[in-house]
């Protein structure tokens, strides 16, 4: 016997008990309940005919006992009919379900019903040949079939909550809606219930009837739920919006996943490019001899995977060798396991021809090596890396718009306007690298006010003032993924010879987690020499000496070249975040400043084409091509025509969110707590039987009743049959 767990509180008005049957086909046997009646009738036909003389006394007796006899006969007959009915009912395995769908959908006046189907990656988890999403479709179709024509129904998928599959439909022909639901497939998106509920809020606002009921069909994975739903839950409770949850998931979490597939180098240039894939084994057995397939454009090659113990994660290094700049779609996929959705990932590799470095010189000079950035430029000019340098004076730089660049270097720039600071913050947050050299010309107050902003700004540390104490040597801190990590591999003597006459005294705030000291001056205070701060996707490096020889002889030391090149390479803007997104996120292609687009199209992984939206900001910001239907992983090709009518295109790769690989279920108590005052009932549905039949089987109770009734019938029959 299977007992369905139902949790949560229900409004009293919804607690009508409904009955269903697991073996409903046996209910036809209820016709057998007529057997006692037939036997009774047949018995009345089997009688002895007798010519009787003392009719007077017979009639007198019968008249006196007729009422009693009739009642006794009826009771006995009813008991016998009931015995047969109880037998049939018991073998039909009835289920009482106070929260079955039937009662959920029972008449409480006309109701606007919203069914939310979770179509996130984890819903693709298969068990016993069926995925949770297939069970969700079944459950949704059962609900739709059960909803009466008096109500309206809206069907929403979690991957596109703002675009309902069916909106406010009256179900005179439920097949139209059920066929639409049946055609749904699981997406590669992650569930994000707070945002889904916000989208449902908008749907609720446009519904017709005052009664509103929401049913969420999900696998109840922890991923996607968060405290942000509490506010919505409390509000819905206050608005008398009903919420019910159908759990179609199983508690199995065995899964082999690929949480990451990314560029290991900061920037991909023609030549060897290092990639890194991450494999996570969440199964109970060691994965041995597995391999993945790497698809580079149209070519495919196998990648051997290392043996992986249970609950272990490993990085798999992969090197490819693109020979020309451009965008290359890469896909690394493993053999499908129980959850195919996270067995592979896409990567749009943008092979750059050069690395753009924009140097802003705060103290330009016509004399060789007298400018603030001369030594810096020299550092980038040597070697094989294709650096593309662009020098501006601070005056020129402040007077022009910021163009796209990979690294910006501010060298002894006196001050920045608030607008320029805002632009820098935007670009750094999008991935650009920023290196700030100190100098005598710097307006410290302006820097601290606009760039440091009490730790909120770009500047990693507060500038205290110029410290004129002479120091010899620099000490590199042991920091992971340090942009100046190559310095730590040098002999300490090589760094000990650096002499400086001044340095900028700074205070690194302890409450700013993103800031860290990468190197310190070799003085008693261990004053910070190089400080890093992550800002958005970008990184900022503050060097507390000048970029030229004004404060130190470091620029003429070979270690300076090594430090600057490695730092610039490390923080240079890598692949555009717009090129690799997660399923469900919108594709956004930002056009060049002043450029416009027309006939913008998106070619989907399925081969279909769709029109993309062109966003034209009111200010002078670049136009953006936007496309939101990214529920499936794959390579999306955005194409448009520029102002000259020339065709342009951009590749964007969409991958599933690694958060979906975490199959931990959310405890029901925790979920109930998150949903605040709603207290939704939760029905667990495994697809074995009708959703409306979920509940408690009562055949044991019926069997007990049957036993008692049979006993009672026997006793009563003996009592009735006694001589009277």
């Amino acid at each position: 016997m299977r007992e369905t767990r139902i949790t949560g509180k229900m409004p009293v008005s919804q607690q009508s008990i409904r009955m269903g049957f697991l073996n409903a086909y046996l209910l036809g046997g209820l016709a057998l309940a007529s057997v006692p009646i037939i036997i009774h009738i047949l018995n009345r036909r089997r009688f002895m005919r007798l010519d009787w003389a003392p009719m007077k006394y017979l009639k007198l007796t019968i008249k006196q006992n007729r009422r009693r006899l009739r009642i006794e006969q009826l009771i006995l007959l009813a008991m016998r009919v009931l015995v047969v009915m109880l037998i049939i009912l018991a073998v039909s395995r009835p289920i009482l379900s106070p929260s079955a769908m039937g009662s959920w959908l029972g008449g409480h006046g006309r109701t606007s019903r919203i069914i939310i189907i979770d179509d996130s990656v984890s819903m693709g988890y298969r068990n016993e040949g069926r995925s949770a999403f297939e069970r969700a479709r079944d459950a949704a179709n059962q609900l739709i079939t059960a909803i009466g024509t008096q109500d309206s129904v809206t069907v929403i998928t979690s991957s596109a909550a703002d675009a309902p599959l069916v909106k406010e439909a009256n179900l005179e022909d439920p097949k139209k809606v059920t066929s639409a639901v049946s055609a749904l497939g699981v997406s590669d998106t992650t569930s994000d219930w707070p945002s889904t509920f916000r989208a449902v809020d908008q749907v609720l606002a446009s519904t017709t009837f005052p009664q509103k009921e929401i049913v969420v069909i999900t696998d109840l994975r922890k991923s996607g739920w968060g405290p942000a739903v509490t506010e919505t839950g409390n509000r819905w409770a206050g608005q008398n919006v009903g919420l019910k949850i159908v759990d179609v998931g199983i508690r199995e979490t065995a899964n082999l996943a690929m949480p990451a597939f990314e560029l290991e180098d900061t920037v991909a240039l023609p030549g060897p490019v290092n990639l890194k894939a991450q494999i996570r084994n969440n199964t109970r057995s060691t994965v041995t001899g597995a391999q993945a397939l790497l698809t580079i454009g149209t070519e495919t090659r196998p990648v051997l995977l290392p043996d992986l113990a249970p609950n272990q994660t490993t990085d798999v290094p992969i090197t490819i060798n693109p020979n020309k700049p451009g965008q290359i779609p890469l896909r690394l996929g493993m053999n499908n396991d129980a959850m195919p959705g996270d067995d592979g990932r896409w990567l749009c590799l943008t092979v750059r021809p050069t690395i753009e470095v924009s140097m802003v010189d705060g103290e330009p000079s016509a004399q060789p090596f007298e400018s603030e950035t001369d030594f810096l430029g020299l550092s980038f000019s040597v070697g094989t890396e294709p650096w593309h340098l662009k020098r501006n004076t601070d005056v020129e730089w402040n007077g022009s718009r910021l163009g796209p660049t990979d690294v910006t270097v501010l060298a002894n720039v006196a001050s920045l306007t608030p607008e320029r600071v805002a632009e820098l913050e935007r670009q750094v947050s999008e991935g650009m690298g920023l290196i700030i050299f100190c100098g005598d010309l710097m307006d410290l107050g302006s820097y601290n006010q606009r760039l440091f902003r009490n730790g909120e700004g770009l500047l990693p540390a507060k500038l205290d003032g110029v410290n004129e104490a002479a120091v010899t040597g620099i000490v590199v801190e042991a920091a992971q993924q340090s942009p100046i990590e190559p310095l730590s591999k040098l002999a300490p003597a090589a760094l000990a010879r650096i002499r400086l006459s001044k340095f900028m005294g700074v205070t690194v705030p302890g409450n700013v987690k993103e800031a860290r000291v990468l190197a310190r001056w070799n003085n008693s205070e261990a004053s910070p020499a190089v400080i890093e701060k992550r800002f958005g996707r970008g990184r900022v490096i503050l060097v507390t000496v000048t970029a030229d020889k004004a404060w130190s002889d470091w620029p003429v030391d070979p270690t300076y070249v090594l430090a600057m090149r490695s730092a610039a390479m490390a923080i240079a803007k890598g692949a555009s975040q717009q090129d690799n997104i997660l399923a469900g996120q919108p594709i956004q292609v930002t056009l060049d400043e002043g450029a416009s687009a027309m006939e913008q199209q998106v070619k989907l992984p399925s081969g279909e084409s769709a029109t993309a939206e062109l966003i034209k900001p009111a200010d002078k910001s670049p136009q953006v091509i936007r496309f939101t239907r990214t529920r499936n992983a794959g390579a999306y090709e955005v194409s448009w025509k520029d102002a000259k009518g020339q065709a342009q295109s951009r590749l964007v790769c969409v991958s599933p969110d690694k958060a979906e690989s975490d199959l931990t279920a959310i405890p029901e108590g925790e979920l109930q707590g998150m949903l605040g005052a709603l207290h939704p009932p939760i029905v667990h549905y495994s697809g074995e039987a009708s959703l409306a039949q979920r509940g408690k089987e009562i055949w044991r109770t019926l069997a007990m009743g049957l036993l008692c009734l049979a006993l009672g019938e026997t006793v009563f029959a003996v009592w009735v049959g006694r001589e009277r």
């Binding site: 089997r46 002895m48 007798l50 003389a53 007796t61 019968i62 009277r724």
Partner: protein, 310 residues
């Protein structure tokens, strides 16, 4: 003919013939002897001797026979019996019932024939009235052998198939009986009892000694059926479906009340009431009764039956 009738059974007759039927009251006969008579009639034709019994008129003693045999014999003459016995035999359809050896009518007819035989044997006049809702046969009392034959013949020819109206018939028969005598009513008494009691009162008033032989089948008393039964009124068209076990006790009580009521009324009026069941040995029951009469256990005069207040 009489000897070969199924209603004359030797084993029964053997048990009762020596007991005889004695009137307990004064009956209007012409000779003294067995029955006390208010009349002093004259003899007409010698019929037979019978042994002297104390109380016989010594004038009737045949001294010649005494001289020959040294025994005392009384001379008897035709038409001179003191006892005039009239048997009222119910021949209605209700008497037809009987699932076993004998129907009630057969049992009653056997009883009637046996009593008639006894009467004729003791040279008493016996008559028969066969009735249902009317008198179907009326034989005036006579003490001849041929009367017995007539009675048996009438009983054999009777077909109990009509409704009964015992009270009315008894009234008419009472009117036809001119002299006081013994009236034996053989019936199941499944009739209008009020009319029946009224008729009994008339018989009492006329000075008759009445004996009621109530004959019932054991089925009618016990209601022993185990199956469902469709009871059809034997004297009518009414039908009733019933499961007897459900009210057997109540029915038996009702029948018991009915019999008790008749018995009490008869007892009050000094009327003999004998309940005979068709499955009982008739000879035994009858001899037992006659024996009791001989001992004078019966025949106590009682009140008027109409005055009975149960």
């Amino acid at each position: 003919m009489a000897e070969s009738s199924p209603y004359l059974r030797p084993e029964i007759l053997a048990q009762i013939v020596k007991l005889g039927l004695r009137a307990q009251r004064v009956v209007e006969g012409t000779i003294s002897g067995l029955h006390r008579s208010p009349l002093h009639g004259v003899s007409v034709e010698f019929a037979d001797y019978r042994e002297y019994t104390p109380g016989d008129d010594l004038k009737r003693l045949d001294w010649r026979a005494y001289a020959r045999s040294n025994r005392h014999f009384i001379k008897q003459y035709e038409e001179e019996s003191n006892l005039r016995c009239t048997i009222l035999m119910d021949a209605s359809a209700s008497m037809r019932y009987g699932r076993k050896e004998m129907t009630k009518f057969e049992y009653g007819a056997t009883l009637a024939a046996s009593l008639a035989f006894v009467c004729v044997k003791q040279r008493d006049a016996v008559g028969l009235a066969l009735f249902d809702r009317e008198e179907r046969t009326w034989l005036r009392p006579a003490a001849t052998q041929s009367q017995l034959t007539k009675i048996i013949d009438a009983l054999e020819k009777a077909k109990p198939e009509r409704e009964t109206d015992t009270g009315a018939v008894m009234l008419r028969v009472c009117d036809q009986i001119k002299s006081r005598g013994v009236v034996i009513i053989i019936s199941d008494l499944l009739c209008d009892l009020d009319a029946f009691y009224a008729a009994l009162g008339r018989f009492q008033y006329s000075g008759h000694e009445v004996m009621i032989m109530q004959i019932l089948d054991s089925d009618e008393i016990e209601l022993p059926f185990q199956d469902s039964v469709l009871f059809k009124d034997i004297e009518g068209a009414e039908e009733l479906f019933a499961e007897p076990w459900a009210f057997r006790k109540a029915y038996k009580q009702a029948m018991e009340n009915f019999i008790d009521e008749v018995k009490q009324r008869c007892q009050f009026a000094g009327i003999d009431h004998i309940l005979l069941r068709t499955d009982e040995n008739l000879g035994l029951g009858l001899s037992h009764y006659l024996h009791q009469r001989q001992r004078g256990d019966h025949g106590k005069r009682g009140g008027k039956i109409g005055n009975f207040r149960g």
